[in-house]
C-alpha cells in the first residue's frame, strides 16, 4: 500500500464530490412542506421603534418580538473584569442598534413571496444619532448604543511592563494605523433549515456551522430546551472563516418557527444580508510607538488599540476577544523589554464584529510590522536587519515572551533569512536603482508573525467566554469488514479533514484510507466539541483520532493475539495486520471475528470491542506556535495608484505536516484573503451608519488574476507538546500579507517620503499618500528657504 500516513501528500477524498458538483449544502435540502422565510430588517442604524404595522391579512405570517414568548436574547459574556454585558434580541424591540437588525420574520411559500410579505410591513422608527466611528464613540458625550452602560465601551484593558524604561531610546517612531471593516465573504453564506421531529421530540436544525455543538448549546439555552432536544446538522459548508461559528438571531427565529409551525422553514442568507447585516470583522485602529536603539534593537512598544466591536457581543466569542487578543499578541515574534498596551472594545451602530481567519493577528501584524519598517527607515538600515536583531532566537526556545505567551519551538531568523534569499533582496535593490521602463515604482517588503493555534483550557478559561475548549474527543470504531469510522465534533469545510484524519488513523492502524470514513457535522453522531476555529483541528482532532486509534490498535492486538495463540505482549500491529511470532492475522479477520464470530473469542475478551471514544489534550495546552515569513515585490503606479504584486514568497513552519499539499492549499487560500485585506476589501459606512457595500460590485474581493502563485517553502520544526509534532496553520496565510504588502508599497513610495498606514491600500489612498508627501515636502522646502 502506498504511504497514506502522516506526511503523505494524498489527493483529497472530498474532492470527488466537490469537483463533480455533488456537494450537499443547506440550500440543497428539500423537505416536504418547507416554507421560506424573509426578515424585515432595520433600515436605520439607530432608532427607537415607535411601531410595526402588519396588514391584517398578513398577521398570521409575520412574527415580531412580542410573539417570541419564552425566547431569551443572545448573551455572550466575557469573564474579563469590567466587561459590560449586551443583550442581542432575537427580534428587536424598543430600539434598533444596527442596519439590518431583525425586526420581524415573514413566512412565505417561496423566498420571493416571503419578501413580498416583508415589503408590506411598515416600520415607524424615530431615528437616533448613529455611531459609525469608534474613536468618536469612545468620547464622553457620544450617543449611547446601550443607554444603561453610561458609555460605549464593552471593555478596556491595560497592560504595562516596565514601559518607562524605554522612553530614553534614541529612536521613537509613532504611527496611527488602521484596518478597514471587512466581510468574511465565504462562497456560501449562512443558511438554516429547521423543523420539529415529532417522533424524537427534537428540534432539528440543518445549518452550515463550524461549531455545531456550540450552536446547539447556545440555541438550547435561548429557547429553554434540553440539549438532547436539539440536533444540529452541519452538512457541506462552503467556507466558514469565523462567520459560521456564530449563533445568529436568524437561527433562533427559525428554531422558534419550527417549533410553532407544522412544517419546516428555511432561510438562505443572501449576499446583501451577508455584507450589510451579518458578517463584519477586522476593524482596528492603532496609535503605536516603537522605541529603539540606533542599531534597530527594540527597547519597547507602546500602543493604544481600539476595535469597533459593533452593537452586540456575539455568541460565543464575545465582543472583546479581538481587542483583548491585541494586547496579548502585539509583541509578535520579538523579544524586547518594555511594553504597554491599552485597548478598547467599542460599541457602535454596526453589526457585531466577528472573528475572521487570523482574528486580531492580521491587524496586529500590520500595525507592528509597519512600525518596524518605519524604525528601519529612521535608523537607516534594511528592515530585515531590524527584525533579525529582535526576533526570538532558536536557542531561546521554548520561550516565554513579554505577555507570557509560551513559544513552543522554531527558528524565526532562519525563516526570514530563507524568505529574503528567495525574494532576492539584492537583486530588487539593484532593479530599483535602474528604474522601470513603464515608470512604475518597485517596492520590496516582508513581514513575519507567529500564530498561536489550538490554544486550550488554560488560555480560554482566562477569557471567561461561553466556550472553553477542554479535551478534544474522537471516536474510532472498526466496522465488521475491517474498515474504520472516525467521529469528531469539529467540522471540516475546507480543512480537508475527510482526508487528513484518516491519514492519522492510517498512520497508527495501517487501514487503507479508502476504508476510513470521517463522520462529522452532526451533534447526534459526534462527541461534544467546541468545533473548528483557532487553527486547532489538526492538533486537537488529529491528536484525538491518534489517541482513539491507538486504543483500537491495542484492542485489535488483544483479539489478534488470541487468534494467533500468542501472548499479546508478543504481537505488533504492522500494515493493518496483527503480527505474532509465528504468523499474522489481518485486521479484517480481527474485526470479522469480533462482530460476526464471537464464538471464536475467549470469555476474557476485552468487552470494549474494537471501539474507543477518548479525549486528547497536548502535553501543554497553551497553544502551538507556527510562524511564517512573507516577502513580496510590488510595482506601484504613481499616476494611477494601482498596485501589482510581482512576486510572493512564503517560508512557513507548521511543525509536522500531516498532508503537505493540504497545508499549501491552506496557505494559498489564506494568502488570497490576506491580499483582499491588503488591497481590496472594505465595508464603508456613511455618517448615518449606513453600510455602503451591499453587493460584490461595491465590496471588492480579489479574483484569480489578483492573487499571484506564491513560492512556498516549508520548515518542519516539530512541536514539542503535540501528537506527531503538528502545529496549527489554518489561519496563517491570512495574517502576514497586509503587513508585507504594506511595507513593500511604502518601500516603493520611499522616494516621495510617502507612507500608507491604512488597509486596504486602494489606488485612492496611494495617490493621497503621494499627494500628502509632496505637499509636506513643498512646505518644508518653503520653510528651509525662509531660513536660507
Amino acid at each position: 500500500m502506498k504511504n497514506q500516513g502522516v506526511g503523505a501528500s494524498m489527493l483529497r477524498k472530498e474532492d470527488d464530490r466537490f469537483l463533480r458538483g455533488r456537494g450537499q449544502y443547506v440550500a440543497d435540502l428539500r423537505l416536504p412542506g418547507m416554507k421560506d422565510v424573509a426578515f424585515v430588517r432595520s433600515p436605520l442604524a439607530h432608532a427607537r421603534i415607535a411601531g410595526v404595522r402588519i396588514p391584517d391579512e398578513m398577521r398570521d405570517r409575520v412574527y415580531v418580538a412580542g410573539d417570541l414568548k419564552g425566547v431569551k436574547p443572545i448573551v455572550a459574556v466575557s469573564g474579563l473584569a469590567g466587561f459590560k454585558v449586551s443583550e442581542q434580541p432575537v427580534l428587536a424591540f424598543e430600539k434598533v442598534r444596527q442596519v439590518g437588525e431583525l425586526i420581524a420574520v415573514c413566512v412565505g411559500t417561496s423566498r420571493a413571496e416571503a419578501e413580498d410579505i416583508a415589503a408590506t410591513v411598515e416600520l415607524d422608527l424615530d431615528e437616533l444619532p448613529a455611531l459609525h466611528d469608534m474613536i468618536e464613540a469612545r468620547k464622553p458625550g457620544a450617543a449611547l448604543v446601550h443607554e444603561h452602560w453610561g458609555d460605549n465601551v464593552f471593555l478596556e484593558t491595560f497592560v504595562d511592563v516596565n514601559m518607562e524604561a524605554a522612553y530614553d531610546a534614541p529612536i521613537k517612531v509613532t504611527r496611527e494605523i488602521s484596518t478597514a471593516r471587512q466581510s468574511m465573504a465565504p462562497m456560501e453564506g449562512r443558511g438554516t433549515v429547521a423543523y420539529w421531529d415529532k417522533r424524537l421530540e427534537q428540534l432539528v436544525l440543518h445549518t452550515g456551522s463550524q461549531m455545531p455543538h456550540i450552536v446547539r448549546t447556545g440555541l438550547a439555552e435561548c429557547l429553554g430546551l434540553g440539549q438532547e432536544q436539539v440536533r444540529i446538522v452541519s452538512p457541506d459548508v462552503g467556507g466558514g472563516f469565523g462567520y459560521k461559528g456564530i449563533l445568529l438571531p436568524e437561527d433562533i427565529c427559525l428554531a422558534f418557527l419550527a417549533m410553532k409551525l407544522d412544517h419546516p422553514v428555511r432561510w438562505i442568507e443572501d449576499r446583501r444580508e451577508h455584507l450589510t447585516a451579518g458578517a463584519n470583522c477586522r476593524e482596528h485602529h492603532y496609535i503605536i510607538t516603537g522605541y529603539a536603539d540606533r542599531d534597530g534593537k527594540l527597547r519597547g512598544i507602546e500602543c493604544e488599540a481600539t476595535v469597533d466591536s459593533g452593537a452586540y457581543s456575539s455568541y460565543p466569542f464575545s465582543a472583546c476577544l479581538e481587542a483583548a487578543q491585541i494586547a496579548s499578541i502585539l509583541p509578535g515574534p520579538y523579544d524586547f523589554p518594555s511594553y504597554r498596551c491599552r485597548t478598547w472594545s467599542v460599541s457602535t451602530n454596526k453589526c457585531p464584529i466577528l472573528p475572521y481567519r487570523g482574528v486580531a493577528r492580521t491587524g496586529v501584524c500590520y500595525a507592528l510590522e509597519l512600525v518596524l519598517d518605519a524604525i528601519a527607515r529612521e535608523a537607516g538600515i534594511e528592515p530585515h536587519e531590524v527584525r533579525l536583531k529582535n526576533l526570538v532566537q532558536p536557542e531561546q526556545m521554548p520561550f516565554d515572551n513579554i505577555t507570557r505567551k509560551h513559544f513552543d519551538s522554531g527558528d524565526y531568523p532562519e525563516a526570514l533569512h530563507r524568505a529574503m534569499a528567495a525574494i532576492d533582496l539584492a537583486g530588487i535593490r539593484a532593479r530599483q536603482q535602474q528604474g522601470e521602463p513603464d515608470g512604475r515604482l518597485i517596492g520590496i517588503g516582508h513581514s513575519i508573525y507567529c500564530e498561536q493555534g489550538a490554544h486550550g483550557t488554560s488560555v480560554y478559561a482566562g477569557w471567561g467566554i461561553p466556550m472553553v475548549p477542554g479535551h478534544e474527543q474522537a471516536t474510532a470504531r472498526m466496522t465488521p469488514d475491517g474498515g474504520l469510522e472516525i467521529r469528531v465534533g469539529v467540522h471540516s469545510h475546507g480543512q480537508s479533514m475527510e482526508t487528513t484524519l484518516p491519514q492519522v488513523a492510517n498512520e497508527i492502524l495501517g487501514i487503507d484510507t479508502a476504508k476510513i470514513k470521517l463522520v462529522h457535522g452532526d451533534t447526534e453522531y459526534t462527541p461534544y466539541s467546541t468545533g473548528s476555529w483557532g487553527s486547532r483541528c489538526a492538533v486537537m482532532a488529529g491528536g484525538a483520532v491518534a489517541t482513539a486509534a491507538r486504543e483500537v490498535a491495542g484492542l485489535a492486538k488483544g483479539i489478534g493475539a488470541h487468534l494467533l495463540q500468542a501472548d499479546v505482549a508478543d504481537v505488533k500491529l504492522v500494515d493493518g495486520h496483527v503480527v505474532g511470532p509465528h504468523g499474522s492475522v489481518s485486521l479484517e479477520t480481527v474485526a470479522f471475528t469480533w462482530y460476526r464470530r464471537p464464538q471464536d473469542l475467549p470469555a476474557s475478551v476485552d468487552p470494549r470491542g474494537l471501539e474507543s471514544t477518548i479525549g486528547y489534550k497536548p502535553v501543554r495546552d497553551s497553544g502551538t506556535f507556527s510562524y511564517a515569513a512573507h516577502a513580496v515585490v510590488v510595482a506601484v503606479d504613481p499616476e494611477m495608484g494601482d498596485i501589482e504584486i510581482l512576486d510572493y514568497v512564503i517560508v512557513e513552519d507548521g511543525g509536522k505536516l500531516i498532508n503537505p499539499m493540504v497545508v499549501d492549499g491552506q496557505i494559498y487560500g489564506g494568502l488570497a484573503q490576506g491580499i483582499g485585506t491588503a488591497l481590496y476589501e472594505e465595508m464603508n459606512f456613511d455618517a448615518s451608519g449606513q453600510p455602503l457595500a451591499s453587493t460584490f460590485a461595491d465590496y471588492l474581493l480579489p479574483g484569480p488574476t489578483e492573487v499571484p502563485a506564491p513560492r512556498v517553502d516549508h520548515m518542519e520544526t516539530l512541536a514539542p507538546y503535540t501528537e506527531f509534532g503538528v502545529k496549527g496553520i489554518g489561519e496563517g496565510g491570512a495574517i502576514a500579507p497586509p503587513a508585507a504588502i504594506g511595507n513593500a508599497v511604502n518601500d516603493a513610495l520611499r522616494r516621495f517620503g510617502a507612507e500608507l498606514l491604512h488597509s486596504p491600500m486602494t489606488p485612492r489612498r496611494v495617490l493621497e499618500a503621494i499627494q500628502a508627501a509632496k505637499t509636506a515636502s513643498a512646505a518644508s522646502q518653503v520653510k528651509q528657504g525662509e531660513f536660507a
Binding site: 417561496s110 419578501e115 499616476e639 481590496y680 471588492l700 488574476t705 489606488p763
Partner: protein, 279 residues
Amino acid sequence: MKPVNFDYARPADVGAVLALLAEDGPSVKLMAGGQSLGPMLNMRLVQPDLLVDIAAIDELKQVTDKGDAIVFGACITHADIEDRRVPDVTHGALPRVANGIAYRAVRNRGTVGGSLTHADPSADWISMLSAVGARVTLRGPSGERTIAVEDYMLGALEADLRPGEMLVSATVPKLGRSARWGYYKSCRKTGEFAHAIGAFLADPDRGVCRVVIGATESRPIVVADASRLLGDGTAARLEQVFDSAAADEIVAAAGMEDPLDRQTHVVALRRAIERAHSA
C-alpha cells in the same frame, strides 16, 4: 433578493415589442442580456409589471455592411464582437474593448444595446463607441431616428428613450486605412467597472481626431476636435505633445472637482494615446 412578481413576454419581432411598449398602464422593462437588469430585479431596484425579453428577436442580432459603415443589431453580445462574429471595421478597436468587459460569462450574454441603454458611465461601450463616432438607431411609434452614441446617454443610468421607443441597432463607421486608436481603462481588478477611461481615435482619411474621457459621474466627455490637446495631430508620438494641463482644464470644466480624479482621468487619456502606437 428575489424579484417581485412580473409578467413575461418573449416576442419574435420588434413590432410586437413596440406594441407592448405602447400599452397604457403596466410598467414595462425590456431585457436583452440581463446582466445589469437581472441583479437590479433581484434587488427590487426595478419592479416592472411586465418584462419583455428581446433576446429572441432575429432582427436585433443581424449585422449589415453598409459600405462605409457596419450596422449591428442591439442584441449583439460583447462576445459576438470579441470573437469577430461581427466583422471588425475598427482595426481591432471594438474586439479589444469587448475582450476587456467584465468576465467572459457576462460577455456571452451582455449586449451592446443593453449596455448603452443601461447608461452606466463606467461601462466601456459608451466611451469607445463615442470615440469611433458610432450612432444608434431608435424605433418608436413615430418611426426611426438615428443619433450619436454620446447623445443617447443623457446622464448616469438615463438614456434618451422617448415613450414607446427602443434601441434597435448601432452603426459603426469603417475607419480609414491610416486610422489609429487607443483605449485605456483603470480598474482595481479584472472585470470590475472602470474608475477612469481614456479613448482616442485619429482617422486622418476622414478628418477625425477625437478623444473621450469616460467613467465620470455622468456622460463621457467627448472632445470631437482634439487639436487643442494634440496639436495638429501629425506628431510621430502624440503622447509627447499631449497637453495634460489642457486636458485637466477640459475635465474640470466638465465638472470634475476632485484633483486626484482629474489626474487619473487625464492619465487614462494619455495612456490611451500612448497605446495608439503599440496597438
